[in-house]
């Protein structure tokens, strides 16, 4: 019995997921030694983000022709603005991005280069631009660091099944067929397990399943992973699905996958395999009973062997490790994780955890770990740091935790920091005691802040999860949360804010009336729907909740160093923030030496960077960016739904939104930083006059006296934007 386990695209590219290493280790421990693991996600990113592949995108997109056509118009409608935004960038930077993408990957993978912040930022920008260039080849499909979305919605099985054969808009059809399937076929598996954790993996996973069945119909294809806990049963009702897969495993996969493989090897009836949905010999779809989840103390250490650890876009692996499964609290009414993981809370012992870390550290030469847990349990918070120190493990790590006021005392915080804990993310949610009580969070907001301060004072970066729009929450309560976070921002480094979504798997969905949820609106076209729009009879409306969310995002941008300027790139690239924390030791050092770094000012005789590329445009790109962003903000779209504008919405926007009149601008690209700036004609003119011979004062004399202050500020901005050559006069980036 030869088994292939595949992580299908798209998952994030900075570190591996834990599912395949856990499953592979379990199967091997049970005697199934012929197990092969593939991370098709990172492999596809690596190929898509390569010079030759991106040159093909440049040739196929033909941005120059498309842009010329749009430039011939007097006005642009919404859909034309979308294309103009994409094509103007590709026309200016496309060939340079293709030429520099391989170097960008090298920077992200090489420790000596990765921690040089300017080079890192340049590499990150190049990757973002490359993903947009690649996506344009398959428009309106969008592949990003954090997602893959296609036309249509993945809550609709019709749309999903349509997408898996769409070679024009689904980039994985060709890649899987030409690049991945031949390597999978070389292994010649009898069983292929596809692990689907995120909604973004659904279409690529089924695309691959279809190709496997076309190549080798007798190969058993089984679908598993976290997403199926939400949509598996619904998806199983589509007869078409059963032409591309043979079974689905719900919830934790170790035992069902093992028993499935054993049953197939011995040609036994699959009806005895737990947690399975399958089609029997008569063609009837059957579901087997759920088994008790395994005690994770009985599980082997995950095996990352076989995964291409060198391909991830990080300078060294950040390995995930689950020291617990489930949530020991398990009461928050909005949460679903404690019902879909396990269900049931279980933990490894401290000794096992230390051994797991030691084993993985030695095996993969890494000292960076992400503890993939819902919350660090009190016994672990107290005992694990000492155990790590006693064992001399010398690691850096981070995790999520509950705000346990009585657990995280000063000594525990100091021990955690000493053990290498660099970051803890807490579920704070709200500053309102009333809202927290309705959520069943079981925490006191005032004492939570004391805890946060202790953690921060110990030198650990603090992240808070915050939720706005919980049913019954008022605007004043949301405002209180924001004000409280801002007042304590010296002790809080990151805030992860989201709007409340009504998930049908949650407790609050079942008890909707108790939370003043007056109406729930199912989408008749979405047979895989998980999240529902709704209306409450008290508290904020959904629109008000969205506005409160936008207030949060604006405030975070203004007040938190990690969200300011180009520091955003940290967060778009996930574990990179953690790696930088580990490198600099504490957030305070990171902020002083990296985030608020000094840049050079304009100098006495400013000079335009000679390598700049400029492109005069007939329409104002800055205005287009702003308009498109404003449109997207008007939509409240839960997770799992595409954030692409639908065809119907696009047609409506084309009709209803006033078209944009021509208004020239200049797009300037600095190849040394990778940044693109949109300049008004007057700003571009000042830039052109910065020839290194004249002083700033002589340059601004060209404009009327009443505009010279603006012009002086503009020259400073040109310098801050990196468009002028540096001078010895430093200024702080703000």
């Amino acid at each position: 019995m030869r088994i292939a386990l595949v992580n299908p695209p798209q998952a994030h590219f900075t570190q591996p997921l834990l599912a395949l290493p856990s499953l592979a280790a379990y199967l091997r421990a049970k005697g199934l030694r012929d197990v092969h693991v593939f991370d098709a996600s990172i492999e596809s990113y690596d190929e898509f983000l390569s010079g030759p592949r991106l040159l093909r995108s440049v040739e196929r997109v033909r941005a120059g022709e498309g842009l010329a056509s749009l430039e011939s118009r007097e006005r642009l409608r919404y859909s034309e603005m979308e294309r103009y935004q994409a094509l103007s960038e590709i026309e200016l930077v496309g060939d340079e991005v293709a030429a520099s993408i391989d170097e960008a990957k090298r920077v992200l993978r090489t420790p000596e280069l990765f921690y040089g912040y300017e080079r890192y930022l340049r590499a990150g920008r190049t990757v973002e631009q490359a993903l947009r260039l690649f996506s344009a080849e398959y428009a309106p499909t969008r592949l990003a660091a954090h997602g893959f979305v296609m036309r249509g919605q993945i809550e609709s099985s019709n749309d999903v099944l349509r997408a898996i054969g769409d070679e024009r808009e689904n980039p994985y059809v060709e890649w899987l067929r030409e690049s991945f399937l031949p390597r999978l076929a070389a292994v010649d598996p009898d069983v292929v397990g596809l692990s689907v954790t995120f909604g973004s993996q659904a279409i690529p996973a089924l695309t691959l399943a279809k190709q496997i069945k076309a190549w080798k119909p007798e190969c058993h294809v089984t679908l598993g992973g976290g997403l199926l806990a939400y949509v598996g049963r619904k998806l199983s009702k589509r007869p078409e699905l059963w032409s591309v897969i043979d079974s689905m495993i719900l919830l934790e996969g170790e035992r069902p996958l093992h028993e499935l493989c054993e049953s197939l090897a011995e040609r036994r009836d699959l009806g005895k395999v737990p947690n399975l949905i399958y089609r029997d010999a008569s063609g009837e779809v059957r579901a087997t009973p759920e088994a008790q989840p395994l005690d994770i103390k009985t599980l082997p250490t995950p095996e990352f062997d076989g995964l291409p650890l060198g391909l991830y876009l990080s300078p060294e692996p950040v390995l995930p490790l689950a020291i617990t499964r489930g949530c020991y609290w398990g009461k928050c009414v909005f949460c679903t994780l404690y019902t879909v993981i396990g269900p049931g809370y279980r933990g490894r012992s401290i000794e096992q955890t230390v051994e797991d870390v030691r084993t993985l550290k030695e095996r993969h030469s890494t000292r960076h770990f992400y503890m993939v847990i819902e919350d660090l349990p009190p016994n672990m918070a107290k005992a694990l740091p000492r155990a790590i120190l006693d064992a001399g493990l010398d690691i850096d790590w981070w995790c999520d935790a509950r705000l346990e006021h009585d657990v995280f005392d000063r000594q525990v915080c100091e021990d955690l920091a000493a053990s290498g804990c660099k970051r803890i993310a807490f579920g704070y949610e709200s500053a309102s005691r009333r809202v927290l009580d309705r959520m069943c969070k079981g925490i006191d907001p005032a004492r939570s802040l004391e805890l946060v301060r202790r953690v921060h004072d110990a030198g650990i970066s603090v992240t808070l999860y915050v939720m706005v729009g919980f049913p019954t929450e008022t605007r004043d309560e949301a405002r209180l949360t924001l004000d409280t976070i801002l007042a304590n921002r010296d002790a809080i480094q990151e805030v992860s804010v989201r709007v409340f979504y009504l998930d049908e798997t949650s407790e609050i969905f079942r008890r909707a009336r108790e939370f003043d949820i007056a109406e729930i609106y199912p989408n008749p076209d979405a047979d895989l729907q998980v999240y529902y729009d709704f209306k409450t009879s008290s508290g904020m409306s959904r629109r008000e909740a969205r506005d409160a969310y936008l207030d949060f995002t604006r405030a975070l941008r203004s007040h938190f160093p990690v969200f300011q300027n180009t520091n955003l790139l940290y967060h778009e690239l996930k574990s990179h923030y953690f790696l930088y924390l580990a490198k600099w030791g504490t957030f305070d050092r990171l902020r002083a030496e990296v985030l608020e770094r000094q840049v050079s000012g304009a100098g006495d005789r400013p000079r335009r960077r000679p390598a700049l590329r400029e492109r005069a445009l007939r329409f104002d790109r800055a205005e287009i960016d702003e308009r498109l962003a404003a449109i997207q903000s008007g939509h409240l779209r839960p997770r799992y739904q595409t954030d692409l504008v639908t065809d119907e919405e696009r047609a409506r926007f084309d009709r209803e939104i006033a078209p944009l009149a021509a208004s020239p601008c200049v797009l300037a690209y600095d190849p040394s930083s990778g940044e693109v700036q949109a300049l008004s004609p007057a700003a571009a003119d000042l830039l052109a006059r910065c020839d290194g011979d004249r002083s700033a004062e002589q340059i601004v004399e060209i404009v009327p006296a009443e505009h010279r202050d603006d012009a002086r500020r503009c020259i400073d901005q040109l310098a801050s934007a990196g468009l002028l050559e540096t001078s010895p006069t430093p200024s702080i980036v703000r």
Partner: protein
């Protein structure tokens, strides 16, 4: 996969309506290049089509 989080963006500078070309000519040094283009709106914006951060992703798994 997350809802877009729009960038509030920089404050827009209102377009300059006054014709100041004449004044520019009067005050420019002799060796200056031709006068700066009207209107005198000096705007520099990072052209980033993403132009936003999904705050939900900050510490997402």
């Amino acid at each position: 996969m997350n809802p877009k989080n729009p960038d509030p963006g920089p404050a827009k500078t209102p377009p300059e309506k006054k014709d100041a070309t004449k004044g520019a000519r009067q005050t420019a040094p002799e060796d200056a290049k031709p006068p700066a283009p009207k209107p005198f709106v000096f705007k520099i914006v990072r052209a980033d089509p993403k132009n936003s951060i999904d705050f939900e992703d900050v510490a997402d798994k």
